[in-house]
């Protein structure tokens, strides 16, 4: 019996990472290593204005004085920043303007990833900014969005075409001094997405950025800046994958969101970076700073994340609730299987009156995975009537994995109501057997149970991606029967 179980386990764990292929394309890479010259070189490659270079240099000088944060419940191997390539751009023949200019290899790559960029095959109702390594390859639907006054383009383009908007909002939520990885990003970021929704406009389609790492020995450092002007609305989705490699690759991104009065931004992430192999070899180090500010009254920012990939995840999408009656939400499912580690959560900073926040975190650990929730709820003195509800659940599969919860609560206003609930549960063999007895295989049983457990969060995703996320959850847990 014991042996049978082992055999089933073995068969199941061979579930493969589907996106591990490499695109063979000529790539413009700069030499390994990081220095002021490298920062200047990146800026020059992008033909940036002086103010952008100044920003980078300030950040770089500051970064040199910083140390990697050590407070997370993570074992991070030493990272040699002189051994990383900080800029790698797939060579496109002419500059991508119309689709016919995009290299066919790149079109094929994104097709394979399920992100068709071609005019005919495009996802309906979703505009995509496709980023490979250090540059944006193509942004779809931009013309039809422009008719509504919506700006949706690569970050580099925004620096050229909309410098005043970029200058006004860049680093206004995540200052260049914020933390080790955000500061590094500020110095060397190469591309990313920029989005501006004008006053009173409801964006009629999902906007999304798809991040792909392709080149080896390369780090990806992208920046996303999303501005929702008064009474506007946008739903934004981010997806990511990378080839299977034995080396670890660094991904250090920054996302900033600004909502003005009455505006709402829904930001969803399906993170499926290569997680490393069964022995914990390879995989992406995902060190990301995401933060939004509800600047105006009655505005709302909602983060939803499904984190199944990466060898290490370090990420705390947060909300600064400055406007009165503003609302922050964080819905998260994080899976760690095999030797994956995640330290993820959120910060909800209540500044305005009657601000509300909701945190729902569902951690799933299997194999030797380590999964930590880290969350801060801070209510400042003036935040009369602030409310927070937090729910942190952990689900364990097997007995070699770990789940940890680090909730921090700081309340300086006596009228605030802050509630925190936490549970830890295990997928029981009796639950699996019950499913088996009805004819459901163990693999499908785990899929059912895990998706049931994560349903509250999955339901927050845009429909098209909820199905994908469900499949991803099941695949990432294959072979983890405890």
């Amino acid at each position: 019996m014991e042996n049978d179980q082992d055999k089933v386990l073995d068969e199941l764990t061979s579930g493969e990472y589907k996106y591990g292929f490499v695109t063979d394309i000529e790539t413009d890479v700069i030499p390994k290593g990081l220095s002021e010259d490298v920062v200047r070189l990146i800026s020059a490659k992008k033909e940036e204005p002086e103010w952008m270079l100044e920003f980078r240099l300030k950040a770089f000088r500051h970064w040199q004085t910083m140390k990697m944060p050590a407070w997370a419940h993570l074992k991070i191997p030493e990272i040699n920043y002189q051994d990383i390539i900080f800029y790698a751009a797939p060579m496109q023949k002419p500059a991508p303007g119309s689709l016919s200019d995009v290299d066919p290899e790149l079109l094929k790559t994104f097709d394979k990833l399920g992100i068709p960029l071609g005019e005919q095959k495009r996802l309906t109702g979703v505009a995509v900014d496709a980023v490979m390594d250090s540059i944006s390859v193509k942004t779809t639907f931009r013309e039809s969005l422009a008719e509504l006054g919506i700006i949706f383009c690569s970050f580099s383009e925004a620096v050229r075409e909309h410098p005043s908007l970029v200058q006004k909002y860049l680093a206004s939520v995540v200052p260049y001094t914020d933390n080790f990885f955000a500061t590094l990003n500020s110095a060397v970021f190469s591309d990313g997405s920029f989005c501006y929704i004008p006053k009173g406009v409801r964006c009629p389609m999902e906007l999304s950025t798809y991040f792909r790492i392709n080149a080896s020995n390369t780090g990806q450092f992208e920046r996303t800046l999303l501005i929702a002007d008064e009474e506007s609305y946008v739903s934004y989705l981010e997806g990511c994958t990378a080839p299977m490699r034995d080396e670890n690759q660094l991904h250090a991104a920054v996302v900033e969101i600004i909502t003005e009065r009455g505006a709402e931004v829904k930001y969803s992430t399906v993170q499926n970076w290569y997680p490393g192999d069964k022995e914990g070899k390879g995989g992406i180090f995902n060190f990301v700073t995401k933060r939004g500010i509800c600047k105006g009254d009655d505005s709302k920012i909602s983060w939803t994340q499904v984190e199944t990939g990466s060898a290490i995840t370090w990420k705390y999408p947060s909300c600064i609730l400055r406007g009165n009656n503003s609302v922050g939400e964080f819905y998260s499912v994080a899976v760690t299987n095999n030797y994956q580690q995640a330290d993820t959560g959120t910060k909800m900073i209540h500044i305005g009156r009657n601000t509300k926040s909701t945190i729902v975190s569902k951690g799933i650990s299997a194999g030797f995975g380590q999964n930590s929730y880290r969350g801060l709820v801070k209510v400042l003195g003036k935040a009369e009537g602030a409310r927070n509800y937090s729910q942190c659940d952990s689900l364990l599969l097997g007995d070699k994995c770990g789940a940890h919860t680090f909730p921090y609560i700081e309340v300086d206003n006596p009228s605030a109501i802050v509630e925190h609930e936490a549970t830890t549960s295990r997928i029981g063999e009796d639950q699996i057997f019950y499913c088996n007895q009805r004819g459901i295989s163990t693999e499908d049983a785990i899929g059912l149970i895990v998706n049931g457990y994560a349903r509250e969060v999955i339901n927050k995703l845009p429909m098209e991606f909820a199905v994908e996320a469900q499949k991803l959850l099941q695949i990432s847990l294959e072979g983890s029967v405890g």
């Binding site: 549960s425 019950y434 499913c435 088996n436």
Partner: protein, 265 residues
Amino acid sequence: MKSEFLLQIKELKATIDNKEILKGLNLEVKPGEIHAIMGPNGSGKSTLANVLTGRDIATVTHGSVTFEGKDLLVMSPEERAREGIFLSFQYPIEIPGVSMVNFMKTAINEQRKHRGLEPLSASEFLRQMREKKELVEIDSALTNRSVNEGFSGGEKKKNEIFQMAMLEPRLALLDETDSGLDIDALRIVANGVNKIRRTDTSVIVITHYQRLLDYIVPDYVHVMYDGRIVRTAGPELALELEERGYDWIRKEADVNEETWTTDRK
């Protein structure tokens, strides 16, 4: 050649933690028959149900079990279910977050796939859900909830019978489905079983009490004691047990065992 028996258990022995629980059990069930297994607590009735459904709490050390002539013991639990074995659990399991609808749809379609059938259409599935719910007089809200989560004891048992109705098994094992039920629930459960049963469905009713057998009339009553079936007769045996309790069986069985062991030596 196809066996005349749906289920055939020969000299079955099984251990839990190296302790022998089933000690050479024989049982033969033909299509359409109803068998009752009665016996005191701890005699191994649930263990028998576990062994038949492939739960690996117990280890089979001896004997054979065939189902429709096929070796049952080499099959995985889900294969056995797909072959048509259904267990109404003594203690149904809660699965938070998994809706009954999703659970049943997955189960039915897995079983259909096994039989080479297409998945049920959503409308046909929902029609069957409605129909079977009425059959077992189940409160409609039940099926919108998570599997057994927050169900009362009676609701859980009714839910087991509902699932049985949906899955239409060849062999249903009811492990103390009657215990903890009030008389109304008992009647509903028993009626459900009777209505659902096709002419070739066999049922093994594991029970403590005669009262369920007033509603589900068995062809045979077996008394299980200390890992064996020690007595088999018609429905009248159940009445006798009700009147006299298990003590006389216990005494008789103990004597039998003495003689049996000395005979062997």
